[in-house]
């Protein structure tokens, strides 16, 4: 019987080694190692042997054979599984560079990109963001800003007027806002100081479009009203903005200028790390007449304001040569940024 067992084992091991698929292994496992398999049958025949010793010897031989077969099945199964995986993966090869389709992401407008960057910097400096209407009353756009009717400086704003007439009002007193300063007025009227706001927004001037001017463009203004605010605070805030927005190597300076709504007034310039200067915007201490127009006592409250163009920031950051291109919404332009 031992001889039969050994022969059966050798035959089974030869079959297992010769198997080429996992399915074959499954079949061979049933045939040899299953509950009704060959060796299970051989085990059943052990009872027919004559002596205990024979039974013992044959039983040990069957067990050894079954262990060897299980090991062989496991090993062969593992080899075949690995090979199958390798074959599957190999068969699924893709050339990923065939799939370089054009990206489908949308493109935010350059003005929006600059606008949000600026908002984020000022939010980091402790400002909130205020908004207001684009069509304004003459009072909010000029009068409250220390430009009474007939003030000569009004002429410098190239104002666009609209045919809206307020109830009980005069024609010609509704304007497309020429700056976002009316938002400052509205904020001072609506809120108690302290006020720390920036007002980004769309503004309008009667300017013929060219490479650097558009009749419709965007600016951002800042306003701080608090106790004991000084011109040094204006200089420090401009400088903090300069470093936060442009980078640590940039500096700023104030230089005397004139605006009706601030006094003292200053232009502010930014110095690049190479020493050259960029004229950026206007600023100054809020004029007492503006505070009075907003029911604030100039002896109690003081503040500063500043403003500059958003479009120009976008234009310079991306080297756009002509502002008109920024507003043409041509696909070839839009998808560059």
């Amino acid at each position: 019987m031992i001889t039969d067992i050994t022969a059966a084992k050798d035959a089974a091991l030869a079959h297992i080694v010769a198997a080429t698929t996992v399915d074959e292994i499954v079949a061979l496992a049933t045939r040899y190692a299953g509950k009704k398999g060959e060796f299970a049958n051989l085990k059943k025949q052990l009872g027919g042997l004559d002596t205990i010793d024979e039974k013992k010897a044959a039983g040990a031989a069957v067990n050894d054979a079954m262990i060897a077969i299980d090991a062989a099945l496991d090993e062969r199964r593992s080899v075949l599984k690995s090979a199958a995986l390798v074959a599957q993966v190999e068969g699924e090869r893709l050339d990923l560079t065939e799939f370089f389709a054009a990206p489908t992401r949308g493109h935010a407008h350059l003005v929006t990109q600059a606008w949000e960057r600026l908002e984020d910097v000022f939010v980091g400096l402790g400002f909130t963001v205020a908004e207001g209407p684009e069509i304004e009353t003459d009072w909010h756009n000029f009068e409250a800003l220390n430009m009474p009717i007939g003030h000569p400086a009004r002429g410098e704003w190239d104002t666009l007027f609209v045919d809206h007439v307020p109830p009980d009002g005069q024609p010609g007193t509704t304007v497309l806002r020429t700056h976002t300063s009316p938002v400052q007025i509205r904020t001072m009227l609506a809120e108690e100081p302290p006020i720390y706001i920036v007002a980004p927004g769309r503004v309008f001037r009667r300017d013929t479009p060219d490479a650097t001017h558009m009749p419709v463009f965007h600016q951002i203004e800042g306003l701080v009203i608090d106790r004991n605010i000084t011109m040094a605070d204006l200089a420090g805030t401009i400088d903090a903005f300069t470093k936060a927005y442009f980078g640590p190597g940039f500096n700023s300076r104030l230089r005397p200028s004139y605006f009706p709504f601030t006094e003292p007034s200053a232009e502010f310039d930014i110095q690049r790390p190479d020493g050259s200067w960029i004229e950026l915007g206007g600023s100054g201490m809020v004029h007492p007449n503006v505070l009075l127009a907003c029911n604030l006592d100039p002896d109690e409250w003081s503040g500063f304001a500043f403003g500059f163009g958003i479009d120009r920031m976008a234009k310079e950051r991306h080297g756009v040569g002509d502002l008109r291109d920024m507003y043409a919404d041509d696909k070839r332009f839009v998808e560059q940024f």
């Binding site: 935010a108 400002f127 000569p152 605070d233």
Partner: protein, 788 residues
């Protein structure tokens, strides 16, 4: 304001024009006073090859109306022929001739270039062509008696100089005059200020020209002084050179002195020939409507009651007050006695006339900003002093008229200045005793003691009226760069409002869906709204740049359709765009009913694409709205569009643009569109999503297909499915829509997949059968039949 440095140096030792470092110091000091230096150019470098030549004769040419043939003698015994377009030359004049081969400052080389086949052997030069200033109105004439062939630089006594161009802001009216600039600059640079002190005295017998000011609010002072012994002749070269630097051509000694005094003392003035002055006096009054006068520039103009006229004693207009003289009031070569006008005109009045007539002059610019109403006596004497250089027999007569109205600004205006108010604004730690040193040198005279001082405001600073104006002067003379730098200690924290954060979310969602942002012009052409199928009622700009951009949009639709049309015409189809922007519907309120809108246009896509964008946006914002196809929005596709309804208010529209609208915009693609009132969307805060426990029990899926009439919205069936399914339903999705064989005409099959789950047990077949019955019954109420 053009500032010639050598001229400025007459009033203080500011800097040698040939020393670049000194020039830079002057420029920096001007900038620190608020006079922004635009440029500082070296001038007076002479051009080699330009020599003095005499005009022998002038000839016209029948085929060249604008130029003359000029024959000149440059002293070398050979007559040259040149063409010349200037009209200020006559026979015998000595002129600068650029000979052949001369390299001009602008880069041009003088060549034998001809007109009508006749060569030009050189060029006669204007002051501008020689780099002597801005004047290009005629040839720069050289002094009579100049040796022919002499280089023009020698003949003019030119030396190297610097011409500074500085911006004069509205708060520096005195800086339109050299003396005003010099006073401030001397204080800033710490050099001695030397104002002109005329040596002239009034010696003549009394001669009066009566002056009547009728409209004293427009002209508060009008002085007229009689000066005799005038001989009209050319100016000395030094004066002509200085005027040329300011862009003014030398005309005659009288006109030049008039201009010189204006530039030096910022006092515009006008000299009338007394012998031809009608009525021998002046009357200052507003014009009657339609009154005519030919001004010095040769134009006949009509005036109105908004304009002030200078009239002679007979009430005949002879000038526009503070703006420009009349053509007939010019002095002539034979003038011997002048009535010299020095007056003060109201800035607002001048502004009115300038705006209305578009007539401006050096004088109107100065009066509009504000001239010293008390500077006339000095200016009169200075005028006489300068004129006496060429008119040795000049006599200034006593008895000059000095008419003043009650509107004349007093000379002794004062304000109180509190040193703590100064420090509060500037952040400085000044004491009251610091104020005189900062203010006195610039003419703000400080007096008194204690913490509050009295400051007499200078008469030349009409802009200065209040304490804060003095604070600004202190800041400038103390130095902006010395004010320090600090950051306010805010008790607030920065941030975006909910609304602003939601606006950013809307953008992010749309960008993530592959839609780009556009910003077309908010100004529309008349008719653009109607073309887009929208009501035409809108607000218009009353003074538009062009009519095509004069209507304020009430919808973002026309602008975006234009963008699609533009891109299509450049072979760029299939643009997906959105815009977030204000629209301005008319209203009866104080301001128009302006609100923020969002429009999405998807070119080359059909209505479902726009619905998908809406669903995505609504899901991200936690917002629901009913898609009501029974109301077709104006200008959209009648069978493929719906109103978005949030509560009772329409929130917007979704669907496709109507074919006739697309045709009107010349768009050939289909365009899916979503229009939303963003104010509604942004102002409604979504509550934070609340936790629902996820079940640990197994779930089952149930697929049900119904046949439903095309007239009943699928949305309604889905609602019925949800109702009928009851509490066990956790999700439902429409996975199949089918029309065709097996489904009745006018109907479609809608397949829904229901996921069912209980929180506490495994579902039984009975549960599922019960859901099925419930759904079937609810659907039946809409006329939907379960397909087996």
């Amino acid at each position: 304001m053009k500032i010639l440095l050598s001229w400025l140096n007459e009033y203080g030792d500011f800097g040698d024009p040939t020393d670049a470092v000194a020039v830079q110091r002057v420029a920096d000091a001007l900038t620190s006073l608020g006079l922004e230096v635009e440029s500082a150019d070296v001038i007076g470098e002479t051009v080699d090859g330009v020599v003095a030549a005499r005009i022998n004769r002038l000839e016209g040419h029948p085929d060249a109306a604008k130029v003359q043939r000029v024959y000149v003698d440059a002293g070398d015994g050979q007559e040259r022929h040149v063409w010349c377009g200037a009209d200020n030359i006559s026979e015998g004049d000595i002129v600068p001739l650029a000979t052949l081969g001369t390299q001009m400052p602008n880069g041009m080389k003088i060549e034998r270039r001809g007109i009508l086949g006749i060569d030009s052997e050189g060029m006669l030069c204007s002051a501008q062509e020689l780099g002597l200033g801005d004047d290009h109105s005629g040839i720069r004439l050289l002094p009579a008696g100049t040796q022919l062939g002499q280089p023009y630089g020698e003949a003019l006594g030119l030396s190297l100089d610097v011409l500074i161009d500085a911006d004069v802001t509205r708060n520096l009216p005195h800086c339109f005059g050299y003396v005003g600039i010099a006073r401030d600059l001397a204080a800033k640079m710490g050099v001695d200020f030397r104002p002109p002190i005329p040596a002239t005295v009034i010696t003549g017998d009394a001669r009066t020209t009566p002056v009547e000011i009728v409209d004293g609010d427009r002209c508060s002072r009008f002085a007229s002084t009689v000066i005799s012994g005038v001989e009209v002749k050319p100016s000395p070269e030094w004066m002509a050179n200085r005027l040329a630097a300011a862009g003014m051509r030398s005309i005659s000694n009288v006109v030049d002195v008039s201009n010189y005094v204006m530039l030096e003392l910022n006092q515009p003035n006008h000299a009338y020939d007394l012998d031809t002055l009608g009525g021998g006096g002046f009357r200052v009054r507003v014009a009657s409507d339609g009154e005519h006068l030919t001004t010095l520039d040769g134009q006949e103009r009509a005036f109105s009651s908004a304009d002030l006229l200078i009239c002679d004693g007979n009430d005949t207009p002879i000038g526009v007050g503070g703006v420009m003289g009349g053509l007939d009031s010019e002095i002539s070569s034979g003038t011997t006695t002048v009535a010299l006008e020095m007056a003060w005109f109201s800035p607002i009045g001048i502004g009115q006339t300038v705006t209305r007539t578009n007539l401006r002059s050096e004088a109107s610019t100065r009066f509009e900003r504000g001239v010293d109403p008390h500077g006339m006596p000095l200016a009169v004497l200075r005028f006489a002093e300068l004129l006496s250089e060429t008119c040795p027999d000049l006599v200034v007569h006593a008895g000059g008229a000095d008419a003043q109205s009650s509107d004349l600004m007093p000379a002794d205006r004062t304000v109180s200045v509190r040193v703590d108010a100064v420090n509060r604004v500037l952040g400085t730690t000044l004491v009251a005793d610091d104020l005189p040193a900062l203010l006195d040198p610039i003419g703000y005279t400080v007096s008194g003691a204690g913490e509050t001082r009295t400051v007499v405001l200078p008469t030349w600073r009409l802009d200065s009226t209040a304490e804060i104006d003095v604070v600004e002067e202190i800041a400038k003379h103390y130095g902006y760069d010395r004010l320090g730098s600090s950051v306010p200690k805010s008790v607030l924290h920065g941030g975006l409002t909910e609304r602003q954060q939601r606006r950013r979310l809307v953008r992010e969602v749309l960008l993530g869906l592959g839609i780009s942002e556009a910003m077309p012009n908010p100004f529309l052409a008349p008719g653009a709204l109607a073309k887009a199928g929208l009501p035409a009622q809108a607000i218009s700009i009353t003074n538009p740049l062009v009519t095509e951009e004069s209507v304020l949009r009430t919808s973002l639709r026309p602008g975006l359709l234009e963008v699609i049309a533009y891109n299509e015409s450049h072979r760029q189809a299939g643009m997906s765009l959105f815009e977030i922007g204000h629209v301005y519907p008319p209203s009866e309120s104080e301001l128009p009913a302006e609100y923020e809108a969002l429009t999405v246009v998807l070119a080359g896509r059909e209505a479902p694409a726009a619905v998908a964008v809406w669903r995505e946006l609504a899901a991200n914002l936690g917002f629901g709205a009913r898609v009501d196809q029974s109301k077709v929005p104006a200008g959209l596709h009648a069978t493929r569009s719906a109103t978005l309804q949030a509560g009772k208010a329409p929130l917007g529209a979704v669907g496709e643009v109507a074919p006739e609208v697309l045709a009107a915009f010349e768009v050939t693609e289909r365009v899916a569109i979503l229009e939303v009132n963003l104010d509604e969307l942004l102002d409604r805060n979504a509550k934070p999503a609340q936790w629902k426990q996820t079940s640990r029990q197994p779930s089952s899926d149930l697929d049900l297909a119904f046949t439903l009439s095309n007239n009943v919205p699928a949305e309604k069936l889905e609602k019925a499915v949800r109702q009928g399914a009851g509490k066990l339903l956790v999700d439902v999705s429409l996975f199949d829509v089918y029309r065709g064989t097996g489904v009745a005409e006018g109907h479609r099959s809608l397949g829904y997949r229901l996921r069912l789950q209980a929180g506490d047990r495994t579902l039984t077949d009975a549960d599922i059968a019960s859901v099925r019955r419930g759904v079937e019954a609810a659907a039946a109420k809409l006329g939907a039949e379960l397909r087996s």
